[in-house]
Subunit: 320 residues, 2 copies
């Protein structure tokens, strides 16, 4: 099958072995897959991953139990043991033995097919487009914030970063905190948020005043946390959403002096994201910058790294 | 009067001008003062402070209203405006206009006398020794943890750092979580904790396993936070207690991946500390390494920086 493998270099292959599902897994034929900043970080060395890249996708179950065969699905990316202390305490996403699609110890979705545990599947309602479904994984990550932080109307919320994750977080939290401001570097991207009635500011015009109740760092850069420290109020909350390989030292003494709470936030509830999309509560459609074929994956990764681009989607039907 | 001034260098002076109390302030004659790691950080450039050093002390009110004259007192270190948004919302320690004794914009306590706002005073019960009273400020900082984190019996708690603050935090939290482990570099200091029945481990023998519910970083070094990240469990809590000038870059991606909550913690409730000492609930007496006279302040600061020393106290009565 076709697959985009990371071997230390990104390699497109048309002879990659088909996935062999383990017990309790199905094979999903990938329809579309999204390029995420994490994929770019992996190519820079993050997680020391080797294998097929990609974790955001929508597909159709090709082989597996009758309940699932032929269904259009999305899938959670953490593949868990179900037995360790974390799994037993309800923190399955933190399974000690987990593998993660296209990130850690398991092939990802930039391929014709992928093997996924049945327990990870979510059926996609008919009303959702393939592009919306591809957004479920990052949108779920945005919804995780609402589970971790108690947002209240009237709170001053700042989201740093105008990439996909920042855009999705702004869309989710804006429903609760309408005065939310999305701060970014790229006017083209900020306009996408303005089109869904979110206030924005270019980072050069944004003056941090240590007065925000909640600041979300979705910049994917150490400079984002440094800015968050200057924007958050004493006893306020910073949500750290982005992972990155390496980075500048950040002076964290302001966290101590101002008794700030910093919350790390990763994957989130797929059901919340699917429900919000099905009810048209969150609009994600204008975030898709371009569709490309999997044969052009290297170009797609380069494109996704460009500052004026939000979401690049690999359309697996192209050339199939 | 005698005073230890930081001008960029530490200078002992015997001709420093007496403090002139502002409206609402009293003059306190300092009895004893403690050397804190923050004083050492200030000498290295932290906070860009200039003036009389020192913020931990016990004294006697020399001039002020009859209610307070002659009383033995300790004093909170944040001197607040009472009018800003922080003060009005009950976060007086985070006053936007605050000065801080010996740390920011206001002379400290390594002097014969110091001016302090009346609202900052706490009378010291007769049963407490001067050395215990000197410990109230750092002990209050330790009690702040109990206000910020909900500790429960049975939780696995690790305190990193065997200096005064780590020792005090261990003593406070150990009452709730008896399996607490204090991790440090110095066997002499760890023995002080063992004498009050606290489990300890030398850092070389401590294997972080991402299984602690709460890890407190009181090391005063960036390496402490890095170790805390490896010791805390997924969805666990790190309390960041130490401030330092500069430092190594810390890879914070594990905070995101493991969805850790990091809480900055600074000054705490004096009343809680005074009550605990009065009821003999927390034993601090074995933490005093040496008494010295204020004339020898430079030597005292050097001594306080030594790895085998915990608390150095300036006895202001010496040579008065």
């Amino acid at each position: 099958m076709r697959a985009v493998e990371f071997t230390g270099d990104v390699v497109f292959r048309d002879d990659y072995a088909d996935p062999r599902p383990a017990r309790g897994e199905v094979v999903v034929e990938v329809i579309r897959a999204g390029v995420c900043r994490t994929d770019l970080e992996i190519v820079r060395g993050y997680m020391n991953f080797r294998g097929v890249l990609g974790h955001e996708f929508v597909g159709r179950v090709a082989a597996g139990p009758a309940r699932w065969r032929g269904k259009r699905v999305v899938a959670e990316i953490n593949c868990v043991c179900g037995r360790c202390g974390m799994c037993r305490s309800g923190l399955r996403n933190h399974c000690r033995e987990r593998t993660v699609l296209g990130i850690h110890g398991r092939d990802g979705v930039f391929a014709d097919k992928v093997a996924v545990p049945i327990g990870n599947l979510h059926e996609v309602p008919d009303g959702l487009s393939d592009d919306e479904a591809v957004m479920v994984e990052p949108l779920a990550a945005a919804f995780q914030l609402v589970r971790q932080v108690r947002f209240e109307r009237g709170q001053k919320v700042v989201v740093l970063g105008d990439g996909t994750l920042g855009q999705l977080i702004a869309r989710v939290v804006h429903r609760i905190c309408p005065s939310l401001v999305l701060v970014g570097k790229h006017s083209e991207k900020l306009e996408l948020a303005e089109k869904v009635h979110i206030q924005t500011a270019e980072v050069g015009d944004f003056v941090p005043r240590q007065d925000a109740d909640v600041v979300v760092d979705a910049t994917g850069a150490a400079s984002g946390l440094a800015l968050a420290c200057r924007a958050v109020r004493p006893r306020g909350t910073i949500v750290l959403k982005s992972t990155y390989a390496g980075g500048e030292p950040v002076d964290l003494s302001s966290l101590v002096i101002n008794e700030v709470t910093l919350i790390g936030s990763r994957c989130g509830p797929f059901a919340d994201a699917l429900n919000a999309l099905a009810r048209h509560e969150v609009d994600v459609t204008n975030l898709v910058s371009r569709h490309m074929s999997v044969e052009n994956a290297i170009e797609a990764l380069e494109l996704a790294a460009r500052s004026d681009v939000v979401k690049v989607i690999l359309d697996m039907a192209c050339g199939r």
